[in-house]
Amino acid sequence: MNLAPNIAVKNTGVKQRKRKFIAYMSQHYLLYIFLILPMAYFFIFKYIPMYGLLIAFKDYNVFQGIWGSPWNNFATFKEIFGMKDFYRAVRNTLLLNALDLIAGFPAPIILAIMLSELKNKTYKKISQTILYLPHFLSWIVIGGIVIQLFSTQTGLINVLLKKMGMGPVEFLSKKNNWLLVYVASGVWQSAGWNAIIYLAAIAGINPELYEAATVDGAGRLRKIWHVTLPCIKPTIIILLILNVGRIAQIGFDRPYAMGNYFVTEVSDVISTFVYRVGLRSGRFSTATAVGFFQSVVGMVFLLTANYIAEKFGEQGIW
């Protein structure tokens, strides 16, 4: 019984498939029309720049264009691997991200646990509203705030230090102090906001677990340690993996707005380096090669991290 139509399909396979396709299209063509503009966007603004990466392998010349410029036999890469500033930018990118991770990763977890333990709902809500606020400020604005706050003469921190009889500390022009300020600004900007995801995880914990712990005579700290933390452990681990995956990538706005002439030694990261070499000095090929290097390394990190996170996700993480 089943064979007959199958044979028919075989005989008229191509024709029927064509007819089927036309029938499918006449019903669903609008969906493809919807996709035209967004796909065109991705093609033009995401894929053409990938083609532009070719200039990393060429001696780019504006007049000859991307295609016409001559290949240079990896000379650009040899050049960047011989640049001291390139290694410095790589090191600083990793350094700043690592410091961010060490200080910035635990902060939202602690904050979320504390917020979830608050009994007064109004107090909790008001606190949350204020704690999320810095997330909505641009890095330019935060850079402006930092300059004011840490100014040696009029800034609040130094005014207070002077009150306590301590000399003005140059927070923004000394390397180590600057690193401290950079990391602190990151925690300040994102700790509250990043706590949201942990708050959601904590809200999803089965209340019976807490009841059982209470019956066993556990105090509140013990409940945090033995119930809350183990329950949000999967969330913590996945976010940690994903954050580690982003360690080779760095935005432009923050290091650019926070950095200054005196601390370039630690503040110049890949993005600011690319900007300086490419757009300030006009060495497009060199800067593109640096960007390409970062893109590739960043992608490898990200894909690895996503893969591991997914593996963990499937296993339900021990």
């Binding site: 641009s138 100014s151 906001w193 959601a200 900007y275 757009l279 497009f284 960007g291 992608m299």
Partner: protein, 290 residues
Amino acid sequence: MVADTRSKIFDIVLNILIFVAVLVCLIPILHVASISLSSNSAILGGRVYIWPVELNVDSYKVVFADKTMIKSLVFTAQLTIIYTVLSMLMTILAAYPLSKKGLKGRNFFLLIIVFTMYFSGGMIPDYILVKNLGLLNNFWALVLPGLVSAFNMIVLKTFFSTLPESLEESAFIDGASYLTILVRIVLPLSLPVLATLSLFYAVGRWNYFMDALLYITDSKLYPIQLKIYQIIFNNMQPEISAIEGNLSSNLLPESLKAASVMFAIIPIIMIYPWLQKYFISGIMIGAIKG
């Protein structure tokens, strides 16, 4: 009894710690606000903490007298609105077809989009493209290159795919086109997500700075972030008319910079309560997806 007391102590400590965290959040902003509102002698004397000392609004007079500041603010508002509307339109146009599991070629389209989340040409090829398109010093250089966020598109796609199929099916059988279904059925059911994503786009645009730094040299097209960047970091004076000339010469750069920072913060704070509400639901949608 012992447990009760311990729990109480725990609560007190907890409340204090949260209060400190909240203060840490607010103090930097309050300090800048205070500097912007205090007299020169108070600022220089190191007497300004987190409230204004010897109230003085001259810095705001200068900032508001600078027509280019106001123009930049209005320009950024227009830019943000146009960008957000177009971004949402494109995001919807991509997310709706891709939410249909039976769509032929769906995985191919998704792959093309998701790949851009992992790999990109980077700053210089982006710049060359914008330049070749003739968009340097053009309004559209601030709109087009970042028009669609792959992440936002996937969030919306995921949301669309959770809507019950039966709703659309019956309309489809009744002869409604996908456009009708999208506009009449799907979008009205997605208003909270749409609001959230719009705000993601809008705040992102409002705060973004790099593209303006790269692509714009014409001061008429300066978004507010670039404008205040120049005042804060390059010590540029606001352009002031002759009458206010005296005012500005007496003004400390500190209070001027502080007022400029406040100038950029105030619009965000004004819409903040509203922002917060939608943003949190948005991060949840993102979380479910991840």
